[in-house]
Amino acid sequence: MVTRFEDLFPGLRGSPYQVTAPPDPSYNCLAWAAGVTDAWWWPSGDPQQVYWPSGVPREETLGAVAAAFATLGYATCKHEGVEIGYEKIAFFANAAGVPTHAARQSSKGRWSSKLGQLERIEHALRDLEGAAYGVVALLMKRPLPIGSETAERGRTIARLA
């Protein structure tokens, strides 16, 4: 049976993915990528209705998205693979280059996406590419906080390697 997710994102068909949180209109993909679950982040719309970091242009461009996440310590990067000691975010854009979605990487190289108002899922990054979200157009990373469980595990693995 094809689920509604697989209908929206054909790349999920036959691929292992799982729902990790129920529908919740309190937050969206960009908020989740920023580690926030109580606000709707988007680079356009009335500031009384939509959150966007102050001082960052309110325009639906990848540049504005990159600027917003730069305020959180992220810098652009080239590769979507796991890098020990870093956390990564992938931004999707449509054919016109307009941002559509963001996903954040988990420690095991899987990606976590809040699908608009709908559920949060864990998936392979490229499985969400297609008509709904377009393609991965921008990758950013930042160092994991020193002392975080994931960072320490990564450093231990690096020492043993």
Binding site: D7, P25, S26, W41, W42, S44, G116
Partner: protein
């Protein structure tokens, strides 16, 4: 996910109540935009615009929904009511915006 033809959005049956029409439009709106994050795409969807056009008649249903859990009706209510009860600094915080609209509803005599 199948698109809802625009001509079906306005296919109000003679026996359809206001709430039934509201719920039909809501279902179409969620089906088409539920996975999206773009504020512009969400509020400009034809079903959302048709809900807005129902004006005050849908306010009790929206408040009833907000009492259950936060919803994006907080983006429709300012356009319908021309009010803005959300505190500066709470913009985008949908749960806090929902609470502000429930307070506004009580202050204006709405029951849900």
């Amino acid at each position: 996910m199948a698109s809802v033809p625009l001509n079906q959005l306005s296919a109000t049956s003679p026996t359809e109540t206001i709430e039934q029409r509201f719920r039909r439009l809501e279902a179409a709106w969620i089906s088409e935009t539920g996975h999206l994050s773009s504020h512009e795409a969400i509020v400009n969807h034809p079903a959302f615009r048709e809900i807005i056009s129902m004006r005050d008649a849908v306010i009790p249903f929206m408040l009833q929904d907000l009492a259950e859990r936060p919803r994006l009706w907080v983006w429709a209510l300012p356009e319908i009511t021309r009010a803005d009860p959300v505190s500066p600094g709470d913009g985008g915080k949908v749960a806090k915006m929902s609470e502000a609209w429930l307070r506004w509803g009580r202050e204006h005599g709405y029951q849900w």
